[in-house]
């Protein structure tokens, strides 16, 4: 038995939970217990997976009895298990927050009883996408999480949510169709869809065909990851969903797209054929995203734009295709999932306490609720990259990788990264000054709640508690940045080397092709499998 034999449980447990909570929808207490309990169990399992992979290395498991080049495999390596652990911590915190919100509002009626099953299905889809070693199964994982997200996005069926949901669904379906077309093309060209097998066979293809397949996959994943110019849908659709839903979408969904891009770039199409366009796209994503954030007056929309902008940092690290760059990108993904989710959760609390998330209506929250101010301030500074937080460490890693590469474009990218960091600080400082620091009377249209302090109840303890836990987790990423960077470095090395991944799926005697030269027809084996 290897570590991966238990990996399918990370998908099965949430689905089991979804079935149970669906059956228990008359009994909210049992529903909450089951979903939180099962998610906590999944988190424990994933921590164990991470520890096992750390000691014994990459391992894989075949599903359904079909051997690797034909059947579906699940592969656990350091990158995927790290993503699993971080995503489960975040989704558990958001689930606790959402149950707190539900209990406080007393909404036990119909639409909310489907929240728990749908949420668990979403988690299962995310885990599946992280674990799978099969391109079509990755598509299925995406569809599981997307279909669940359609339901969560339009929860309650109010006008604005339906309007935003339509954009979101149409864009997601189009990106899924593109992904499916790419899969069909890849199958037509190589006759396989197992990713490890593809890593071997794609190298034998004609470079023009290979580039076409490469670009198709990147465009499909680029829409999901919200990379400029394919990011237009995100700030339009995320802000209208309920606060916990926006938080989990912001943390996880785009990162699944980034994860898929990382796998495409490292496992399927190694080398630097598309690095220049990726660098340009990363620069534009960072700068255009953050300029959009500066124009907003609604905190949720502002955060959605910073989300788009900071996806650019991850693409930046990926485009370097060096161990330093990829390690920094992996670290940045882990950091950003946590921080962005905490900020959206805090925005939910702001909306509750101050009656609105619009900066024209808020003011004086720092005096009204110092704890809330603290909960906002810490992840906000973390996002902007103020030392000593993990955002700073991740950005320093990226800038180092950029300087190491040293081409004019990489230097421009470094400058763009610094500029984006400063502009993020400006955007965040605007929120701080307006919502927290000024007097309520100075707001353009002050919300009546802000002045009549006696009229507002206290924030529900579960909601504040789960937000605080996530903020503390974000700070813990800073405290344990050393081991985390080591983990990120190891996974980057493994991903660029590919030997462990391919041999764990295809057997120890499989040869690993070298990086195909951009002009070479059949991909001469530069490194060989003996490495």
């Amino acid at each position: 038995m290897n570590a991966a034999s238990l990996a399918p449980l990370a998908v099965v447990l949430p689905i089991l939970g979804a079935a149970l909570t669906f059956a228990l929808n008359r009994n909210p207490v049992a529903q909450r217990t089951v979903s939180i309990g099962l998610l906590a169990l999944t988190l424990l399992l994933e921590c164990w997976l991470l520890a096992a992979v750390w000691t014994t290395g990459t391992s894989s498991v075949t599903l359904g009895g079909w051997l690797p080049p034909f059947g579906v495999v699940m592969v656990v390596d350091q990158f995927s298990s790290l993503m699993l652990v971080v995503s489960s911590v975040v989704s558990l915190a958001v689930l606790v927050y959402a149950t707190g919100q539900g209990m406080a509002d007393g909404d036990q009626e119909a639409p909310v009883s489907i929240f728990h099953p749908t949420y668990l299905i979403l988690v299962a889809g995310v885990s599946n996408a992280f674990l799978t070693g099969d391109l079509f199964n990755l598509y299925v994982g995406f569809e599981i999480l997307l279909t669940a997200s359609y339901v969560l996005m339009t929860l309650g069926g109010t006008g604005p949510r339906i309007r935003a949901g339509v954009t979101y669904v149409v864009v997601s379906v189009v990106s899924s169709v593109l992904f499916l077309i790419a899969i069909a093309m890849i199958y037509g060209a190589t006759g396989t869809i197992t990713m490890a097998d593809l890593a071997v066979k794609l190298a034998e293809l004609d470079p023009a065909t290979r580039n076409l397949l490469h670009v198709m996959l990147l465009v499909a994943f680029g829409i999901k990851a919200a990379v400029f110019p394919l990011s237009f849908w995100l700030p339009d659709s995320y802000p209208t969903a309920p606060a916990p839903v926006t938080a989990v979408f912001a943390g996880l969904l785009t990162k699944v797209g980034v994860y898929a891009m990382v796998r495409t770039e490292t496992l399927l199409f190694p080398g630097d054929t598309l690095n220049t366009p990726l660098m340009v796209v990363a620069l534009l994503t960072m700068v255009v995203g953050i300029l959009g954030a500066l124009a907003q007056s609604d905190i949720k929309r502002l955060l959605s734009f910073t989300l788009v902008s900071h996806i650019g940092y991850m693409v930046f690290g990926l485009a370097m295709s060096s161990v330093t760059g990829l390690a920094a990108a992996v670290f940045y993904v882990a950091h950003h999932i946590t921080v962005q989710t905490s900020l959206f959760l805090v925005t939910g609390l702001i909306e509750r306490r101050g009656g609105s998330s619009s900066m024209d209506r808020l003011g004086g929250l720092a005096k009204l609720s110092p704890l809330l101010a603290l909960l906002f301030f810490v992840p906000a500074m973390n996002l902007a990259g103020i030392p000593p937080f993990s955002g700073f460490l991740g950005k320093v890693g990226l800038l180092q990788a950029g300087m190491e590469l040293g081409t004019p474009l990489a230097i421009t990218l470094v400058a763009g990264g610094v500029l984006t960091s400063l502009l993020t600080l400006l955007a965040i400082a605007r929120v701080w000054n307006r919502a927290f620091w000024r007097k309520p009377d100075d707001a353009e249209y002050p919300d009546p709640v802000l002045k009549d302090t006696a009229a507002v109840g206290l924030l529900p303890r579960t909601m504040v508690g789960s937000t605080a836990a996530l903020v503390v987790f974000g700070v813990a990423l800073t405290v344990f940045a050393g081991p985390l960077f080591q983990l990120a470095g190891n996974s980057a090395e493994q991903m660029l080397d590919r030997t462990a991944y391919i041999q764990s799926v295809l057997g120890a005697d499989a040869t690993v092709p070298g990086i195909a030269a951009p002009g070479g027809g059949t991909g001469p084996s530069l490194q060989g499998g003996a490495k």
């Binding site: 279909t147 189009v174 169709v177 499916l180 124009a295 000024r438």
Partner: protein, 173 residues
């Protein structure tokens, strides 16, 4: 690998119609476009399996070259189920849009429109001399002195001048 020309032609027509339809503003047409795109993709996957052959694993002793490739068909089955579910959900959303707004069109985001109309001049950030926002009144200004008091003189030039004010106002709280 040989490919069936009819399949390819049908596929091309379906893609063309699908792309035309998803560019419409009417939701029902967008939905129909998505259905066409999904079906065109199913045909594409089918085409990757090559010409139709014998059913695999049916009779012993058949030459491997006579078999049909079963994998594309398994993929199509999955993708049909998925597109079926998504279509059902889209129909639900379209019905809801109709029930709420009595229209079948994709609507603009109100907040987007509002932000687009916002003038570049920001009343709070760009005001020439800040109004009295401090708890410590700018006595010098009030007494008729020229506003070359260091704190006051700083304000007009800086776009983000409010932080200074709010620091003073918020500090002692």
């Amino acid at each position: 690998m040989s490919v069936n020309l009819t399949l390819l032609l049908v596929m091309g027509v379906l893609y063309a119609c699908g792309i035309y339809l998803i560019l419409e503003r009417s939701l029902t047409r967008v939905l129909l476009g998505l259905v066409l795109l999904a079906n065109a993709t199913n045909l594409l996957i089918l085409a990757t399996g090559g010409y139709a052959g014998l059913a695999p694993f049916f009779s012993k002793g058949t030459d491997a070259g006579d078999y049909n490739d079963p994998l594309p068909q398994a993929l199509i089955l999955t993708s049909i189920v998925i597109s079926f579910a998504v279509t059902a959900f889209m129909l639900g959303i379209i019905y809801r849009t109709w029930a709420l707004a009595r229209q079948d069109d994709i609507q603009d985001d109100a907040e987007d429109r509002r932000v687009a109309k916002t003038p570049s001049f920001d009343a709070e950030d760009d005001a020439e001399v800040p109004q009295e926002t401090s708890e410590f009144p700018l006595a010098a200004v009030a007494a008729g002195h020229t506003p070359d008091h260091p704190a006051a003189a700083d304000h007009p030039g800086l776009p983000g001048s409010t932080p200074l004010n709010d620091d003073e106002g918020g500090g002692p709280r």
